[in-house]
Subunit: 230 residues, 2 copies
DNA sequence: CCATCGGTTTGATTTAGGTCAATTTTAGGT
DNA sequence: ACCTAAAATTGACCTAAATCAAACCGATGG
């Protein structure tokens, strides 16, 4: 994807004039990260924020024993670390590229100035932060109040809604990340995820072939995602 | 606390002129909730947001089986539900008064207009949302990566830092909520919290007398909060 | 074509923490 | 001060999920 296209479909910059987009592009720097590169670390000074142009970035926390909790996976057109610029002076988590990734980097100073001068961008930023907040509320809910099967089912429902195609057997789609990364996003480990997938498969609710998932019984999957016991 | 004082110490309105504060007060409505009253429910249409003048409000989620996860407890001078106005059309959680509570209520329409017209308020709002976001990151981290003892220890450390007074034995303070509410804030249940407190007491790290806590070994408590096993 | 190295699956076992039930303590209302 | 109801504690038990260990893919590069 080219830079201008990515900026234009980024919610943070929506509703802006072309000349404003150009101005924005001017204060940014393009950066490239090979797969598996650290973009920043927890507690590092937050000197800027990022827009993903291509590739994927995971934002995550680590426990002292090394267990990983993915907070979010950022796709092209999405921003990350913007909140770190406005509260505290450090990044609150780690960021690492999941694939070869291109980003635009906006240094704190010039970006904050931009926001100050541009009321539309302030409102976009408020909307974007509010959206993030709702996602986190939902993540907390899932981690605290739902079991692994329910979290997995919810994830499959969401993914099928956004990228599923219906076939003869049911709704079909591909997992967009590895299963161990998925485990870490669901707040569990690969072994447990593997067993949860197997349970769904044994009950003929889904089919699994590598990364390809077919949902055979959408209603059953939804019930499980709502916490009706397996 | 009187209304103007509460507004003035509310971060959302900081840096505003007195006449602006007056204007803000004009679009708000004062409401009163006896202890234990529902202020709004999850999925209810978000028609406005709130500033707490006096009392306390808990924001929480419920599982289908009725387990409660407190997301935040709001104290005087703090706002809540502001994000709901800018993303989606419903409240993402429940809100209930923990004590006799006075709030100012701002209808969505007029508040959004206010924000649009007032760049300083936009920036305050961005700061406030960013701050919430950081808190949620930390909540997710604790729920997913730390055990109950670590979460409890962290909570006690935080509370002692903001309201502790040092005595001969150690740092002394009072829990600001009931233990069952604390359990629900830590993502556990009262029985488990009770046992976690007992373990700390048995090891002479803290003393507990009702709501009064004395931290005897701050360093040990900190280690536990960081996840060094008990 | 084979060796290799993640990622994945499976089984056996352990454990933190939730559930259930009974008791004790505390706090608010009259 | 007393009575009741809610909150807190304790014990016995159970379960979901983590841990440990081993085997099993499937892609990648020599």
């Amino acid at each position: 994807m080219d830079i201008e296209a990515a900026l234009k479909r980024c919610p943070l910059f929506s509703g802006l004039e072309d000349r404003e987009i150009t101005e924005i592009e001017a204060i940014s720097a393009s950066k490239r990260y090979p797969k598996g590169t650290s973009i920043f670390s927890e507690d590092q000074e937050a000197k800027g924020f990022f827009v993903v142009i291509s590739g994927r970035v995971k934002i995550y926390k680590l426990s002292p024993e090394g267990k990983e909790q993915i907070l979010h996976i950022i796709s092209p057109g999405q921003t990350f670390a913007e909140a770190a610029l406005f509260d505290g002076s450090t990044y609150p988590a780690f960021a690492e590229s999941l694939a070869e990734t291109r980003v635009l980097y906006f240094p704190k100073e010039s970006f904050v100035n931009l926001i100050r001068k541009n009321p539309q961008m302030s409102l976009n930023m408020i909307a974007s932060l509010s959206h993030w907040l709702r996602e986190f509320v939902s993540l907390v809910e899932e981690l605290s109040l739902k079991d692994v099967s329910a979290r997995l089912s919810q994830y499959l429902m969401d993914l099928s809604a956004q990228s599923g195609r219906s076939s003869e057997r049911g709704i079909e789609f591909k997992l967009d990340i590895s299963k161990s990364q998925l485990a870490s996003q669901l707040g569990t480990i690969s072994e447990t995820l593997s067993r949860a997938l197997r349970k769904l498969r044994d009950r003929r609710i889904i089919e699994v072939e590598g990364k390809k998932i077919t949902i055979l019984q959408k209603d059953a999957l939804e019930e499980i995602s709502l916490g009706i016991p397996l």
